[in-house]
C-alpha cells in the first residue's frame, strides 16, 4: 500500500511525495532548455528535457532513473512515447546525467513509474500538442481537424498526413502547453503492451557499459584495503614500501567520512553512516592494483564493534523479546482477548543479516581536480552521489557532475554513496582520474546489510476458529536510526509498520518494536523490512490457520474480512480489501489450490500488500530425503494497477521470486569479532540455475488504476509461501531462514 511509500524512508520529505513539485521540474518553456525562440532550422525539436525529435523524425527520449535491471529504460520512455504518439521503433533511449531538469532521479522504493507517470505523460503530450499545432499551421486548418497517431499527423478532410520529420521544422518556433490534454488509456498503443526491453540488444552483445566498464583517459585503477571491522581506523601501514613497488602509482589512506543522508533527511546525533577507513593502492590497471594491494600490511584500530558477534546479538534479541517494548499499534485489548481465547498459538521467527551481492561489485570512477569533480557511477541516487562527494571534498554541489551508467544490480545497495566518496577522495589525492573496483570479498565484507531480526508472535482464536487476538513484537536494529540518528520518532525507527496486514483485520491487535543495538552497518535490501517481516507474519498466519484446523487459503481470505476500503488518510493511500482478495484468489486458482498432490509435495500461500500493489504467491514444493527441498512451481498474481509494460512486470515478479528464494534457501551473513564471516559465493550462497523453480507463472490482474510499484512487492511473499508449502508437504514448520537441510532432517 502506498502508506509504505510515504511513511518509510523515501517519501518522508514532501518534495518527493507532491507530484505538483515534481511537475515543476519538467515544465516546458520554463527554462533555457526549451530553445523555442532561438531554434534554427535543421536542429532537433526539444520542447522539454525529456525528448528531442530530430529533423529526420527520430525520437530521443531521456530516462531520468537508474537502470538496474528493473526496466525503467523501457517503461519510462514508453510513457513519453505513448502521449507523444510516435512510432515506438523510432525511439532511442538516452540515460540522463544528473541534472535538475530531470527532477527527482533517486531510483528506489519501487517508485519510478509511480512518481514519473503523470509528468512523463505531460511531457510527451506537450510535445504532441506542439506538433499538432505546427501541422495545423502548415495545412492552414484548425488544430481540432487533425490528430497524431503512430508518428504521423493525420488530417481527416481531405485525408492527408504529415510525418514528424515534415513538421519538426515548423514546431521549433511554437510554445509547448503547460497542461496538455492526455490521451484516453483506451487509445494506448504502447503503454499496457509487452514491449521488449530497449537495452536487451546491448546486453546480449557485451556492449552495455556498466560502471566498472568506464574508461577515462589517464585513469588509474585503485584497490582499497578497508578495515575488517566497521568503524575502525588505520593505526599504521607500510605505505612507503608498497609505494616503491614497480607498477604502483600511489598509496593513499582514506579516512572515514560521515555521509550525508542519502534521501536528504538529517543525519543527526547517533547516526553511524560512515564510509570505511582504508588504504588505497593505485596502479595502471585493476590487476596490478589488486596484486600490489596484497603487499600492504595494515594495523587497524578496530574500535568498539570488534567486540560484537551475531551470536551475541541473538542473545540480545532474546532479552528484548521479553522485556518492555514500544507499542506501535494497539487496537482493542490484546491481553484480555488472548486470555479469553479458546485456543492460543505462539511462535518465534528469525531471519539473518543479508548482503546485497549485486553481480557487478561496487565501483566508481572519479576525476576530482581544481575544485571540481566528475563521477561515472552506477548509482541509484546521482543527486546523493553529488552531495556526498561535494561535502567530502568541500566543494559546491554544482561543481560535481554525475554520469549514470548501467547498474549491474542495485537492490538498494547503490543507494549508499560510499563508493563515490572513496573514489573522489582518492582521485583528488592522486591528481588523476581513478576507478575504484571492489573485489567480491570487499563487497561482501563492506555492505550495508539487511538487518537480522527476531519476531515474537501470539494469537488467540475464538471457539469458531476465528482470530480474535494478534500480537507481534519485532526485535531488530533500526536502519533509520543508523542513518538518521537516535533522535527520530519511534514510528520512524521501527522496522515494522502499523498499517501492515493483518492490521484492520483482527479486532485485538498489538504491534510492538524493540530496537536492538548493533554496530553492523545497515541498509536497504530489496523490500527492506518487508523482506524478513513477511516471512514471519505470513508463516505465523499459516500456523494459526493450522491450529484452527482450517485450510490456509480459506483462512487467509477469511481474515481479510468483508469487502471495504479503508482510507489511511493523507499520503498513506487506501486499503482496498477486494484488490487484496482478488489477487490471492487469482494465484490460488491458477495454482489449482485444493487439487490433490503426490505425497511429499505441498502448496503454500502468502501475500504482500505494499508499494501501491498487491502480490500473492502460491509455491509448490516437494521434500524427500534424497533430493531435499525442491521448489517446483511458483504461481504469482499481481495487481499493480495499470501495468505500463506487462512484459516488464512479469520479469520483475520472476526476478523477485528468484531473489527472494536465495534468501529463503541459501543466504546468511554472520559476524564474529566485528568481522563479517562470509566473503564470496562459496560461503555467501545465492540461488543458482539448479535451485531455480522450473515453473514460474505470473498473472497480472487487468486494471486501469494508477500504476503501483513492481520492483519490490514480489519479494516478501516467496519465503513464507515456500515455508508454508513445506509444512503442507511434510508437517515440518520452519521458523528460521535460510531453510537448511539439517533443519529438515530433524523433521
Amino acid at each position: 500500500m502506498s502508506s509504505r511509500v510515504s511513511r518509510r524512508n523515501f517519501l518522508k520529505t514532501s518534495t518527493l511525495s507532491t507530484s505538483g513539485l515534481i511537475l515543476a521540474f519538467y515544465l516546458p518553456g520554463r527554462s533555457a532548455h526549451s530553445r523555442t525562440a532561438t531554434q534554427v532550422a535543421g536542429q532537433p525539436f526539444a520542447p522539454n528535457a525529456w525528448l528531442e525529435i530530430a529533423p529526420d523524425g527520430a525520437v530521443k527520449i531521456w530516462c531520468g532513473k537508474s537502470e538496474m535491471g528493473q526496466g525503467v529504460r523501457t517503461a519510462l520512455p514508453m510513457i513519453v512515447a505513448e502521449e507523444l504518439s510516435c512510432e515506438w521503433k523510432s525511439v532511442q533511449v538516452v540515460q540522463a546525467d544528473l541534472d535538475a531538469k530531470y527532477g527527482e532521479q533517486l531510483t528506489g522504493g519501487s517508485l519510478s513509474v509511480r512518481t514519473s507517470y503523470s509528468n512523463l505523460r505531460k511531457a510527451g503530450a506537450a510535445a504532441r500538442e506542439v506538433l499538432l499545432s505546427a501541422a495545423a499551421g502548415m495545412w492552414g486548418i484548425d488544430r481540432s481537424e487533425c490528430r497524431v497517431e503512430n508518428g504521423r499527423i493525420l488530417r481527416v478532410k481531405p485525408k492527408s498526413e504529415l510525418t514528424f520529420s515534415e513538421v519538426v521544422g515548423s514546431a521549433a518556433g511554437l510554445q509547448a502547453p503547460t497542461d496538455p490534454p492526455l490521451k484516453s488509456p483506451a487509445d494506448f498503443r504502447i503503454v499496457g503492451h509487452a514491449i521488449p526491453r530497449t537495452d536487451t540488444p546491448l546486453k546480449v552483445t557485451g556492449v552495455a557499459k556498466f560502471g566498472i566498464d568506464v574508461r577515462v583517459p589517464g585513469m588509474l585503477a585503485a584497490s582499497v584495503e578497508r578495515c575488517p571491522v566497521y568503524g575502525g581506523t588505520v593505526r599504521r601501514c607500510n605505505a612507503e614500501k608498497v609505494r616503491s613497488l614497480p607498477g604502483v602509482r600511489g598509496v593513499i589512506e582514506i579516512k572515514p567520512v560521515h555521509l550525508p543522508h542519502q534521501f536528504g533527511d538529517k543525519s543527526g546525533p547517533g547516526s553511524r553512516n560512515y564510509t570505511n577507513a582504508g588504504v588505497a593502492v593505485l596502479a595502471d590497471s585493476t590487476w596490478e592494483a589488486l596484486q600490489a594491494r596484497k603487499e600492504l600490511q595494515v594495523e587497524w584500530e578496530e574500535g568498539a564493534f570488534a567486540s560484537e558477534s551475531s551470536a551475541a546479538l541473538r542473545e540480545q534479541f532474546k532479552k528484548l523479546a521479553t522485556g518492555p517494548a514500544s507499542v506501535l499499534r494497539n487496537d482493542g485489548d490484546f491481553d484480555k482477548a488472548y486470555d479469553a481465547s479458546s485456543q492460543t498459538i505462539e511462535a518465534i521467527y528469525e531471519v539473518p543479516f543479508l548482503a546485497h551481492a549485486t553481480m557487478e561489485p561496487m565501483n566508481c570512477t572519479a576525476n576530482a581536480r581544481n575544485g571540481e569533480c566528475e563521477l561515472w557511477a552506477p548509482t541509484q541516487i546521482p543527486g546523493a552521489a553529488a552531495e556526498s562527494v561535494a561535502q567530502a571534498l568541500g566543494i559546491p554541489r554544482d561543481h560535481v557532475k554525475v554520469h549514470v551508467t548501467f547498474l549491474g544490480g542495485g537492490f538498494g545497495r547503490r543507494l549508499i554513496q560510499d563508493y563515490a566518496v572513496e573514489a573522489a577522495l582518492i582521485s583528488r589525492e592522486a591528481g588523476a582520474p581513478v576507478q575504484v573496483v571492489w573485489t567480491r570479498e570487499d563487497d561482501i565484507h563492506h555492505d550495508f546489510y539487511r538487518p537480522g531480526a527476531y519476531h515474537v508472535f501470539k494469537a488467540g482464536l475464538d471457539g469458531a476458529g476465528k482470530p480474535l487476538a494478534w500480537m507481534h513484537r519485532a526485535v531488530s536494529p533500526s536502519i533509520a536510526v543508523f542513518y538518521s540518528g537516535t533522535g527520530i520518532s519511534l514510528g520512524a525507527a521501527a522496522e515494522v509498520n502499523a498499517p501492515d496486514f493483518p492490521a484492520y483485520c483482527v479486532p485485538n491487535f498489538r504491534l510492538e518494536f524493540a530496537r536492538a543495538e548493533s554496530g553492523m552497518p545497515l541498509g536497504y535490501w530489496r523490500s527492506v523490512e518487508n523482506s524478513g517481516n513477511q516471512f514471519a507474519i505470513s508463516s505465523f498466519l499459516d500456523e494459526v490457520a493450522g491450529a484452527a484446523g482450517r485450510d490456509p487459503l480459506e483462512f487467509l481470505l477469511g481474515v481479510l474480512g468483508p469487502p471495504r476500503r479503508i482510507d489511511l488518510g493523507g499520503n498513506n493511500g487506501m486499503i482496498d480489501v477486494e484488490r487484496r482478495r482478488r489477487v490471492i484468489q487469482l494465484a490460488a486458482e491458477k495454482a489449482n489450490w485444493g487439487k490433490a498432490l503426490p505425497a511429499g509435495t505441498g502448496r503454500g500461500v502468502a501475500a504482500h500488500f505494499g508499494y501501491g500493489s498487491c502480490v500473492a504467491q502460491v509455491a509448490e514444493v516437494s521434500y524427500d530425503s534424497s533430493n531435499g527441498l525442491r521448489v517446483k512451481r511458483v504461481v504469482c498474481a499481481i495487481d499493480c494497477g495499470l501495468a505500463i509494460n506487462p512484459g516488464g512486470v512479469r520479469a520483475q515478479m520472476e526476478s523477485a521470486i528468484n531473489f527472494g528464494l536465495a534468501a529463503t534457501l541459501k543466504s546468511a551473513i554472520t559476524y564474529d569479532r566485528g568481522r563479517v564471516q562470509q566473503s564470496n559465493f562459496h560461503d555467501y550462497e545465492v540461488l543458482r540455475m539448479s535451485d531455480a523453480p522450473p515453473d514460474v507463472e505470473v498473472h497480472i490482474v487487468p486494471s486501469s488504476g494508477p500504476p503501483g510499484g513492481c520492483g519490490e512487492p514480489g519479494v516478501p511473499p516467496i519465503a513464507p509461501a515456500v515455508a508454508n508449502a513445506l509444512y503442507a508437504a511434510t508437517g515440518k514448520r520452519v521458523r528460521r531462514l535460510p531453510i537448511r537441510a539439517q533443519d529438515l532432517r530433524d523433521a
Binding site: 552483445t205 549485486t358 553481480m359 544490480g409 523477485a656 545465492v686 522450473p694
Partner: protein, 159 residues
Amino acid sequence: MAISFTLNGKTQTVDVSPDMPLLWVLRDTLNMTGTKFGCGMALCGACTVHINGEATRSCITQIASVAGKKVTTIEGLSADGSHPVQRAWMEEDVPQCGYCQSGQIMSAVALLAKKANPTDADIDDAMSGNICRCGTYQRIRKAIHTAAAMQSGKAKSAD
C-alpha cells in the same frame, strides 16, 4: 613477456605479466569490457569465455596458459547480435541488469556445441556455474531451448 593468442579470429600479442588472468588482459589491456568481473574465484561465471571452444572462467586463467590458443569472447560471437543464442536471448527478453549475461551466453553457446538438444538436467549441469542475481534463470532455460530449436532448424535446412 610477449604472449600471442587468437582473439575473436585475430592475432593478439600482449606484453604483460604471465600470471595476469585472461579476464584482466581482456578488460584492461585490450579494453574488451564485454567479459565481466564478478568474483575472481571462478564461482560466479561472469568471466566465461571460450578457449579452443571450451567454456572457461577467465578470472583464474593465467594469460601464459592461453599462448597459441583461440579465445572467443562475447564480442566475437557475432558482429551484430545475430548468433542464434543472442537471437534467442532477444526473443525471450532474457536480461535484466545484464551484468551476468555475457557469461551466461558464453556458457550456453558452449553447452549447445556439445549438446544440440539439451535437457533441463543438462542445462542445470552446464549453467549452474553462472549466477544471476536478477533471477533470469527461467528465461535462460527457455532461451537455450529456443536457441537449440533455431540451430537444429538451421542444420536441417543446410542438409
